[in-house]
């Protein structure tokens, strides 16, 4: 019992940064932009988030620092990939390299420092319930926020006009432009939302997951978030399932090692990517028409004037 609860709690904690970062990237990609710089934006978010919390003593301000840092990083991407119409793949990869270097620089002064991590909810009675009490009513604010975030994104994409316009930009930017929608402005906002989410996801790590900062602490989570968006076939509902599944795999891999299961840990770490490949194959086999990915994803758009 205790162990199961502990595992579920650990899975939730491990999944939350994946869910937040992937939600942001999902919105970015739905607008037709492929930003491969999630890892870079996350790690800068982690460094700035920790810095903010350490300087002010407030987790909330730390989270804000992370959000702003991620959004600023994505603005660099938007300037290059949208403003100057540079190849998006190259720009995204460069952003990751930039982020890793920048976070080392920003975080150099904080290495070895500790903060008090984000508090967990406590409702007497409810939180004390066996098994589900702490899972449902004893999480930190980030976990609840991440669920609210993905639900709002679903509502935004499928129930609002602005969401429809965003999906339209991702499907066919020429048509969207011809109808008079400001494709580049919409995409810039989508990219910045993605950056803010990545920054927050990065900040979650030193603010709630482990209460200190070490360089490179995102450890490839940005790449998993990218794979997750593809895994979800760009649908928010499947993204939630995927995020918890991927989080579970990471945790199980640790426990599997502890239990002495004879599977190499490298194989377990590779599972999320393997799952993504399999899902892609299954999706393209099952597809009867239309396109699963946003049709304009990753393509450069230069409006004629």
């Amino acid at each position: 019992m205790e162990l199961i609860e502990a595992i579920i709690l650990a899975v939730l904690a491990a999944s939350t940064p994946l869910l937040i970062a992937a939600t942001g990237e999902l919105v970015t990609e739905r607008s037709g932009v492929l930003n491969l710089g999630v890892e870079g934006m996350m790690i800068v978010g982690a460094a700035c988030g920790f810095g903010g919390a350490w300087l002010t003593g407030s987790i909330f301000i730390g989270a804000l620092f992370g959000i702003v840092a991620g959004a600023l990083m994505s603005l660099v991407f938007a300037l290059m990939a949208l403003g100057l119409a540079v190849n998006q793949v190259a720009t995204g990869l460069a952003l990751t390299i930039l982020g890793i270097g920048l976070s080392g620089l920003i975080g150099a002064g904080f290495v070895g420092e500790r903060i008090t991590p984000a508090v967990h909810l406590y409702i007497p009675g409810l939180t004390d319930m066996p098994l589900i009490g702490r899972v449902l009513f004893g999480e930190d604010a980030f976990v609840y926020f991440s669920i609210a975030l993905i639900m709002s994104v679903w509502w935004f994409l499928y129930r609002t006009r602005a969401g429809l316009i965003l999906r339209a930009c991702g499907d066919n930017h020429v048509s969207a432009h011809a109808l008079g929608y400001p494709v580049l402005r919409i995409r810039t906002l989508a990219v910045m939302f993605g950056g803010a989410c990545a920054g927050l996801a990065g900040a979650y790590l030193p603010l709630a997951y482990t209460p200190f900062f070490i360089p490179g602490m995102t450890a490839g989570r940005g790449w998993i978030a990218l794979a997750l968006v593809v895994f979800s076939s760009w649908r928010p509902g499947r993204l939630v399932v995927g995020a918890y599944l991927f989080g579970a795999v990471t945790i199980l891999q640790l426990h599997a090692q502890g239990w002495g299961v004879g599977i190499p840990s490298q194989f377990m770490s590779a599972l999320p990517y393997l799952a993504t490949v399999i899902v892609l194959v299954l999706l393209s086999r099952a597809r009867t028409g239309g396109s699963t990915a946003p049709a304009a994803l990753g393509t450069v758009f230069v409006p004629d004037r």
Binding site: R161, V174, A178, S291, R305
Partner: protein
Amino acid sequence: MQAHQRMLDPTPNGLHSGESPLLQTLGLTKRYGDFLANDSIDIDIWPKEIHALLGENGAGKSTLVKSIYGLIQPSAGEIRWQGGRIMLSGPSEARSRGIGMVFQHFSLFDNLTVAENVALGLDGKESFKDMSARLEQVSKTYGLPLDPKREVWQLSVGERQRIEIVRALMQDPKFLILDEPTAVLTPQEADQLFIVLERLKAEGRAILYISHKLEEVKRLCDTATILRGGKKVDTCNPRLETAASLARMMVGGEIKEVKAAAGRKTTVPRLVVNDLSLAPAEAHGVRLEHISFELKGGEILGIAGVAGNGQDELFAALSGERLSKDPGTVVIEGIAAGHLSITQRRKLGAAFVPEERLGHGTAPRMKLSENALLTGHAASGMVNHGFIDTAATLKTVDRATETFDVRKAKRDPEAASLSGGNLQKFIVGREILRNPAVLVVSQPTWGVDAGAAAVIRQALLDLATAGAAVLVTSQDLDELAEIADRIAVMFHGHLSAPLATVDASREKLGLLMGGSSLEPKEAAHAVGA
């Protein structure tokens, strides 16, 4: 200036319902660098008028309507709407003033539903539910049926255009721009469209109608403005002109008439297709169903049909881009070739011109001589012991240039730098110079100006006269009527029995293009048996 305008306006003043035109452009100019896409264009559009805008490719028609729709900002001149000067900030302002537009290359979103596509073209002041209800009502009123829940990729081209038109009508426009609306329609679908347009006109709206099809313009339009090289040439009443006189104004000279040599004789069968069936290669593809025909030397067979009914698949099966398991399904020059590669088929004397010029017919960033080599390496002596004979490839370019009047800036430019018509002349010329026994050509004059089209059609006729078998796939029925001896129609992967061109009326072809059988009783009987 104003008096001059009135003088050119062929409609008597009494017939105009208002004092001032609904929409007027005065000296409208659009400059791209040194290039004048529109040079001081004056045009008056009155209510209850269908106004044709004619011109060859590159004459500036699209630029003009984009300025009127607010998509681009004119460099000089002004636009007047109901007598007052307007500066459009963008399409949504144009729409709110009552200017609607139906685009040539549809501005639709394949992965969104019909209702979502319509909603995107409106200004979002009503709820999605109200909009859907109104969509149903408008589509019923005008006889343009649509299923709002289907995604666009599932729909036919005709249905897609219906979305565009319904979307424009839902804005209740006073002025509607249609950019080549009938280019992709069957004759019957076009007739349906004309009924809708006549009705819109009767409701007091004005329509600006862009088309290449002069007969259609003569039938439908009250006024025609002709553009050439970015300038307005004339405004006239198309009903008082002939198609030839309109074409002369568009081109600025006589178009050489295409002439078939008298006494062309058919010889032996050179291309035979026997019961060819082929599963589609991709999700959206069409399955070829039991296609059979025989094409003799000296003969041109035309294949009509709305795009996407299996023409691309048939081309791929004939050219060897897709192979058939049964060699006997495609017979070239008496040799079973269904299993042979493109190169082997070329060696048998076949040549192929695909529909898409850039990317399929040529490699866009490669020079013309290199592109000549790409199709000519098998059978034209351009390769010597594995080495390219550069002189021979250049000679092919020169010969194609000379014979087919290819206009280009230098001797051997990149394929992508040529205009559509000149590149098409080069591609067709490149194959014809190989003296093929069989030529399979898809959409030979698609998007090509009238002058170049005439050159290409004449070349195909001359090739047939010289004894080759020519298979032409085209959506342009006038083109097929002009050059083909027999015409067959493709529909959903089936090929109809060929009709002799003299018997192939537009009505008959239109029925076949829509999937109807010419003799329903017999067809039913055949199924029963």
